[in-house]
Amino acid sequence: MDAEPIKIAILAMGGEGGGVLADWVVDLGESNGYFAQTTSVPGVAQRTGATIYYVELFPGADLPGARAPVLAQVPMPGDVDIVMASELMEAGRAVQRGFVTADRTTLITSTHRVYSIAEKMAMGDGRVDGDQLLGESRKAARRCISFDMAAVAADSASVISAVLFGALCGAEVLPFNRQQFEHTIERGGVGVKSSLKAFASGVERARADPVTTLASDAPGLRDAAAAQARHPEVARLLAHAQRFEKSVADTAVEGIRRLIDYQDVAYARLYLERLDALAAAKGVDHLLLSETARHLALWMSYEDVIRVADLKTRASRFERVEGEASVQSGQVLQIDEFMHPRLEEICETLPAGLGRWLARPHAVNRIAARLTREGRVVRTSSVRGFMLLYLLARWRRGRRSTLRFELENRRIETWLARLCNLAGIDPALALETARCQRLVKGYGDTHARGLGNYECLMAVVDRHAHRLAPASLKALREAALADEHGHRLQALIAQWALGAPAAN
């Protein structure tokens, strides 16, 4: 067969240094006796879009009278030797476009994810399965070098292109040695030290075992049996919870932990009593009980102003913010909160009677409404701002008297009663009903929308308890999370004729 150039495709997004990497490869080739050509479409890349840089290398440039090769400007599916991807979905894209083939392609990819806008804007969890992406990519390639290059780059205070260049060296698929690679970086002259460090890590990681599955970062529930308490009252609750089946107990203990943190021991006791009541009902299985335990804990710890103030003023939170902003010693950190409590939230935080009165239209209501029309920036790092939230958090003692508590408590009780009832009819439907609590989340309009959807679904359940398939309820719940305007949900309800019968 005739000699062919070495063909390298780099798939990257704007700002990830794909162009720098391509230039390094060209310089590496040209400085070591190769003809090198690269092409790209940079306009797209600069603005976060996915793009391809393509490089071809051909030997013999330093021989006297060498004839220049004819090099291609775009990669051809099935005809690429090395594919480098700066992110996992881009590796998937390379495979999808046929650039990665089992007969010849070495795929070098970072395993970290930069989520697409579709993944990010979903109302629930819109992320695609990274393991599947990685699995398909590995399957397609002759050889795959994969590890989290973003993490390696961060460790070296460098950029991903330097790590990729290191991995390319470590893969030993190009006819150049490490020194030749390193000289290329040095010739570049910008950020040489950190680039070389990232490069070295890249070489090392490429030689180590590749990552074949992504590490899950989802926090699991802690083992209920290992839970302990300082206070005897808390210990009694734990002992009670530990009597449940393990999956239920693990969740229930987490629930207790959360509700004590949220309110007090009595509130956690109420939580257990509610679980007990459900456990005693006919048809209730472990799965229903543990899922209810999870959703009940979330619902009982609904997000009100008091909770937000509490969470925002903790020392642990201040430390987290410092870490995220990587504050060095000698630097001063200020934290500004963006809050917008509306009149509704203020009314709901007041004792029920007072809250209801303030919510009615009269002069005081109008004044309060005017005062709350705009969002506020509260500086929690200042004594004044901190005190405001700190005192608000202390109102926890009065929480049980608030309007919001009254409202939520009623909703919770209704929900639990419904679950008890449904368990006797169809435990699977009860389970899906329990999971509908997921819809109620957020603040302000988001909360109102979620609650509206939830109530719409509950009306369907109440109306059709005896004939509704659990899978249908699941589909309805997913439809409620499909769009902000509830179009999908309404369409599905209409399609399945689950709406309220027309009046008269």
């Binding site: 704007g14 306009g43 206070h231």
Partner: protein, 732 residues
Amino acid sequence: MAERSFVHEVQKLRMGAGEVFAGEGILAVTKALLESGVAYVAGYQGSPISHLMDVLSDAQDILAEYGIRFENSASEATAAATLAASVNYPLRGAITFKATVGTNVASDALANLASGGVTGGALVIVGEDYGEGSSIMQERSHAFAMKSQMWLLDPRPNLPSIVQAVKDGFELSEASHTPVMLQMRIRSCHLHGRFVASDNRRSAFTVKDALENPVRDVNRIVLPPASFLHEREKVQQRWPAAVRFIEERRLNEFFSEDAADVGIALQGGTYNTVIRALQKLGLANVHGDSRIPLYVMNVTYPLVDAEFERFCRGRRAVLVVEEGQPNFIEQNVAAILRQCGLATELHGKDVLPLAGDYNTATVLAGVRSFLERYGLVQAAPRRVIPLVPAVAGAGQAGVQGQAETKAALDALVHARPPGLCTGCPERPIFTAVKLVERELGALHFSADIGCHLFSILPPFNLGNTTMGYGLGSAAAAAFNVPPGSAPAAKRAIAVMGDGGFWHNGLTSGIANSVFNRSDNLTIIVDNNYSSATGGQDIPSSRADNPTRSTGHQIEQAVRGVGVTWVKTLRRTYDLKAMTGALREALTTSTSGPKVLVAQSECMLNRQRREKKLVRTALEAGERVVRERFGVDPDTCTGDHSCIRLSGCPSLSVRTNPDPLRQDPVATVIDSCVGCGTCGEVAHAAVLCPSFYRSQIVSHPTRWERLRERLRRGVIGWLQRADARRRDKWAVL
């Protein structure tokens, strides 16, 4: 200040004869202009020739050394009209812009230039933005060359050929008194390669000489009867002269002419692709030695009948490889064959696709099909899908596996189009429109060309049409009720960038809406640069530019053409002001056009500028404040409304750290530039209290340090007390 600086690279432009130049295609073209003794250069930026304008901009002192006048033209029409300098004087001039947008805008001037003809060489370098990565409608520049009778060069895509084409272009132009277009395909503009340089040449005659010694020839002016004369001159003198020059100078190339009795005639720009396809068929080697005869048209208009006759005579068949549609070349070849009485079979768009990118795989399939028909390659065995799956590991299983992989990936891999950058000042404008639409209902939204066109994508999903650069406002012109009828309940919104505004939007959009008593709103995005094309300065730029006059306010210009309802917002990030202004513009009872000038500097450019300043300040020990946003994971409930209203690349999601919750929480990643949109969105849309802003003060003042110690004392004491209480009741 452009996005990319070529200050270091332009030094290569000083290279002398025999030195090896290595670099980008664009830079090579600039070098070729200098070697050709060009006297003036002009152009308008846009992909893929933005870098050519940037190179010229950064090379102004070198251009000055050779007495070359360089203009950043107001539009492609301006650039084309600039070539008028070559009509009466022996001045070589070059202009550049993107095609086919630029050729469309410039076509009036180009047509008049081509009619009268030129004395000095006139070269129009068009960046052909066609195919993958293109951002415009897919059309061909070829039609413009044909209709105005200009000659079109499409050289083989390697730097020596491109450089040679520039030089040949000037000579061809002078030999035939006709402007010449040089087509640079997108991937060739950004092609890295090398060529052997020649010495730069200074024009013997300069623009100064022309100014001081004016010459006039009424026969060169497009006015009857001269224009009737021009038409005859074109076909009787200029065309034959051009064909003669092309033949004599062998601008088109024949390769392996006697290798087979079929051949391929191709546009020069597709040469590398055709060679690679032949290589894959075993019919060429890496150096381009082909076993199939090739006729490479480095000049794709006009065609040289005699050369075609030579290539086709005695051949059974010829394949024309011609990218894009309509297939002008193929049609022309058909006429030539017919007129020459040749029976050679003609193939082209019958084996190759009618439209779309001619990438290697596409050309390979077409060339294979052509050569199979004439027995030059074996027909590929047909793939049979067996009814019973083959044993695993066999070839068929591989094929099946590939299909499964593809199906899986189609679901997993999302499109990732370009979008607004982190901290882009245009984001809050669209967020504000979304918020106002919540109150007023959906509105007709006329988009324009520029970064702001990304509003059509998720999460904004705003925009009905885009009719051209600076035409956003004009494209909403029809949306006004006739006088005397009941007023419409809604108004249309048009968007225009500052680039588009100065390009033509001031007249075609704003003045037009004044004159025609439009009632619509036009938002002018004033971000200091022509940002989408790479951050070039324009009249309203606020930067000091030593060679250009900047600082001309858009509001003044708008008022100057008669708009009375004008508002300028100096900070687009102020979402409350933005929504307020939009609401007012859309509901006010004042009639006539409304214009909202939304000002904030392009973040991409601002960061490039400020990063350096911050680094210097930090090294000097000065007080520097860095801002970034964050999301508290324990108060975020994972609804992602914030992302749906912003779409910032820095605003992402991560696994919920709460073991009871499953939906991922929003998170702000390190690339955050602290523009403030997140906080403003949370306020304006009443989203959630999870957003916070951290201000990190480096090298704080003594007073700041003291205050910090006091605060920490008080806050820490309270926090410890609270922690003790929680500790007492904690579940461990």
